[in-house]
């Protein structure tokens, strides 16, 4: 198994099993991208992992983790105006953060071209919604490619790059979770890495205007629409918009894009049903002539698309405008959510055309077993912090979660954090809860990466109006949930930006920093903060132990100790300790508690859960 870092920069053409996210990195190199930016978010973090696998001295482009998606977009935009082909990538809801700047991009003349890579999440695998970002392409007049596989991701990025450079414009490459993470054999072209030309090419007087304001907006919009019309011509002839299974039956056809198109192909492959499939890879702007031709040559056409009725509405409009008799069919409302996997797609086809899709669905009877939710890792400071918080939390308190690993505090047994909107929402939402509310204390949470990402405006506002709430900053020194990426406070990019100093500068009057493992001190600080009238902040800090452990193992070391439970620990006390809920605890049949050596890292964060000191440490080497 060849190392990813070697494969990505291989000069010769080759083929290898690769994840969509990694195949994209090879495409970036081949397309000679010069500036790449991101803010980490599933399903896209492995794109950055691929980039980081390449040693910096061998990487011909600039890459950074920006502070949020909006800044990342602006950097890619600035670089592109300066003549450097750029790419920004982020998750579905990252587009909401970026959107204030992003919707302006197509108005601009982007000398270097730009590709915006989206990781949409139909099926809600790791996001707070499953919004359909195809709407953004329409809203901003920005073309969109929709790859369905790792191979298509690689090919379509190359095509998007070429067109973005040619027409000096931004283009979307919309991936979805199981395109990002799918692995298959991909055939790669050869790669010539040349040293890039970094001459700043920005020319405001010649290529402008670049200031969209009142009267300049309409000419800029006109130019954007003209580029879009040109792209529609490209969409008519580009090879990724094609009839994928030409049966030439003239009766039934399907129009689809992205992963659902593959689900269709899979189903068509296992039946004798004759159905033509028009697959759109460059789906916006829609190639109207190509679609019209397909509609005219079939009696019935089914639109198969995930999430919203985006293609359906455009195609129905087209048919209406052209007075077509072709019957256009689409999914029921029950399929507006979730992924169109092969089984769901089959169900749709069987509902629409029961005469040709007759196979019985061989669904097995579902049976449940013990659930397993994600949880804090052994040694996680968040668990220790929630354990302390539970001790002081007033019964009527309102707790507001934010995004990050600490969101899992809302699960049993802590159940702290009762509502969630978006990155950094907690202090705005918390302030809303606190208005004219003297009876129910409001406690909000935020992680340290989110603090810098979008948390600061809400915190400034809370400090400014002295809203009566207590914020607990869950600090672990990294962007943990998405794979431990650096952030402004982690000290890996440059000197740490101190959250304490930032809070001081915001005139926050109550700031206490406590180690998350120090239960008694944390309890005392929280009590004081909750008593405090106005905006108070407690920083509960402990480094991410998953990251710490990975770094240890990279140095071929292990955690030196594991926990022990005194054999005289009573059942009652064992039950008390169990409330700490570390996954390395085992409940034995007799109600006693034991330690699972596979999981325990001997961190001691659990110690305060035993009032009589029944939890101790021993050397890992003593465990057989």
């Amino acid at each position: 198994m060849e190392r990813l870092s070697d494969m990505l920069i291989k000069q010769d053409a080759f083929s290898a099993i690769m994840m969509g996210n990694h195949a994209l990195v090879r495409a970036m190199l081949e397309a000679e991208v010069k500036v790449v930016t991101t803010y980490p978010g599933s399903p896209t973090p492995e794109i950055a992992d691929g980039i980081n696998a390449i040693p910096e001295d061998k990487r011909p482009f600039y890459f950074e983790y920006s502070v949020n998606e909006k800044v990342a977009t602006e950097i890619a935009f600035g670089a592109s105006m300066n003549g450097h082909f750029s790419t920004v990538f982020f998750k579905s809801v990252g587009l909401n953060v970026a959107s204030d700047s992003l919707v302006q991009l197509p108005l601009m003349e982007l000398a270097g071209g730009m590709v915006v890579v989206l990781g949409d999440d139909p099926g809600v695998n790791s996001s707070q919604n499953e919004q359909d970002n195809r709407h953004f392409a329409r809203m901003s007049y920005m073309p969109m490619f929709e790859p369905a596989t790792p191979t298509e991701t690689y090919q379509m990025y190359l095509q998007a790059a070429e067109l973005a450079k040619k027409y000096r414009m931004p283009i979307f490459l919309r991936m979805t979770t199981h395109v990002c993470h799918a692995r298959e054999k991909v055939e790669f072209n050869s790669l010539q890495i040349s040293s890039p030309d970094w001459t700043p090419a920005f020319n405001a007087s010649k290529e402008g205007p670049f200031i969209p304001i009142t009267v300049t907006v309409h000419p800029m919009k006109k130019r954007a629409l003209k580029k879009l019309a040109t792209m529609e011509q490209e969409a008519e002839t580009i090879d990724v918009n094609y009839v994928a299974s030409p049966n030439g039956n003239g009766i039934r056809g399907v129009i689809s894009a992205s992963m659902p198109a593959m689900s269709l192909m899979e189903n068509l492959d296992t039946t004798d049903a004759k159905v033509d499939l028009l697959k759109l890879g460059l789906s916006y702007p829609m190639p109207k002539n190509k679609v019209l031709e397909f509609l005219k040559s079939h009696d019935e056409v089914l639109i198969v698309e995930e999430l919203d009725r985006v293609m359906e509405q455009e195609i129905k409009t087209l048919a209406y405008d052209n007075g077509l008799a072709c019957k256009i069919l689409a999914k029921p409302d029950t399929m507006l959510g979730g992924e169109l996997d092969p089984a769901t797609t089959y169900k749709l086809m069987a509902d629409v055309w029961p005469d040709i899709f007759t196979k019985e669905n061989t669904l097995i009877e579902s049976e449940s077993t013990v659930p397993r939710k994600p949880t804090f890792c052994p040694g996680c400071g968040h668990r220790a912090a929630f354990y302390a918080i539970k001790k002081v939390l007033p019964e009527a308190a309102i707790t507001v979660a934010d995004i990050g690993c600490h969101t899992m505090g809302s699960f049993e047994p802590y159940a702290v954090g009762e509502t969630l909107l978006s990155m950094g929402h907690s202090n705005g939402t918390g302030a809303g809860f606190s208005i004219k509310n003297d009876s129910r204390k409001v406690i909000t949470f935020i992680g340290d990466s989110t603090f810098f990402h979008a948390g600061m405006p809400g915190i400034v506002n809370a400090a400014l109006y002295d809203h009566n709430l207590t914020l607990v900053v869950m600090e672990n020194g990294t962007t943990a949930m998405t794979g431990q990426q650096p952030h402004p406070g982690s000290g890996e990019i440059s000197d740490k930006i101190s959250i304490d100093k930032v809070l001081e500068a915001f005139n926050v009057k109550f700031i206490k920093r406590v180690g998350a493992y120090s239960t008694d001190k944390l309890v005392a600080a929280l009590e004081e903060a909750i008593e405090f009238k106005g905006f108070s902040v407690v920083i509960a800090s402990h480094p991410c132990m998953l990251k710490f452990g990975r770094n240890l193992r990279r140095k071929k070391k292990d955690f030196p100790n594991i926990m022990t439970v005194d054999k005289n620990c009573s059942k009652e006390e064992c039950a008390e300790i169990m409330k700490f809920d570390c996954p390395s605890f085992n409940l034995e049949e007799d109600g006693s508690l034991s330690i699972n050596p596979i999981l325990c890292i001997g961190d001691g964060s659990c110690k305060s859960s035993s009032k009589t000191g029944k939890l101790g440490l021993k050397k890992r080497s003593e465990v057989k």
Binding site: M1, E2, I17, S42, P43, P45, E46, N125, S126, T149, H178, H181, A182, R183, E184, K185, M259, M262, S263, M265, E266, D269, D341, P342, A343, T362, L363, I364, S366, E367, S368, T369, V370, P371, R372, K373, P374, T375, F376, C377, C405, M408, F411, E412, P413, M481, T482, L546, A575, M578, D581, P583, F585, N586, L587, G591, N596, P597, I598, L599
Partner: protein, 192 residues
């Protein structure tokens, strides 16, 4: 070979993706088309993690439809049961390592962790073949995945992929200093 769907599962941190990539590489070596997908992100934090592998002449999508797996390979007993219940075809095979990682509802005493007997009893009506593996004196629990590979090789579960193919892939996937121990575990599991 005929098309085959392999579903791998375990708990975040157990090394499912390494296991999956070794099997993928072995299938590639044997000349099959393979498509797969792993769980990433949030769910990895001590939750159920899965990896889908689809092998055959023509593979279109990476995810195995429910109830369409021929083989479920699990690094943990409860996850093995869960994977088999939701993904295995009637008459399919479950191979699991005897690891027990209790989830919250078991630690809290609300629910009972399934025994080996319960796993068998719940799967028997579906005609599922169940193999549980436990290697005595495993040098490091992180080698459970290599032990499972040994078991797979000895059971000849993936057509045309014998132990020598797995061994070759292990040699390229495991760092040199750990190779000898890993190959020893692989062989020990083959004989178990």
């Amino acid at each position: 070979m005929k098309a085959m769907n392999i579903y791998l599962c375990g708990v975040g941190g157990q090394g499912i993706s390494l296991l999956s990539s070794v099997i993928t590489s072995a299938c590639m070596e044997a000349g099959y088309q393979v498509m797969g997908v792993d769980t990433h992100g949030l769910a990895q934090r001590g939750g159920t993690v899965v990896s889908h592998l689809r092998i055959g002449k023509k593979v279109f999508t990476p995810m195995i439809p429910d109830g369409q797996a021929d083989l479920v390979i699990a690094l943990e007993r409860l996850e093995g049961l869960r994977g088999a219940l939701s993904m295995l075809k009637p008459g399919g095979t479950l191979v699991y390592y005897q690891t027990v990682l209790q989830p919250h509802k078991v630690r809290s005493g609300e629910m009972a962790y399934p025994s080996d007997v319960e796993v068998l009893e719940r799967l028997r009506p579906r005609g599922i073949n169940v193999e549980a593996l436990n290697v005595e004196n495993l040098p490091d629990y992180r080698m459970q995945n290599v032990a499972l590979l040994g078991k797979l090789a000895s059971m000849n579960l993936i057509e045309d992929i014998g132990s020598e193919v797995f061994e070759e892939v292990i040699k390229t996937a495991v760092p040199e200093h750990a190779l000898e121990t890993n190959l020893a575990v692989f062989k020990q599991a083959m004989d178990s």
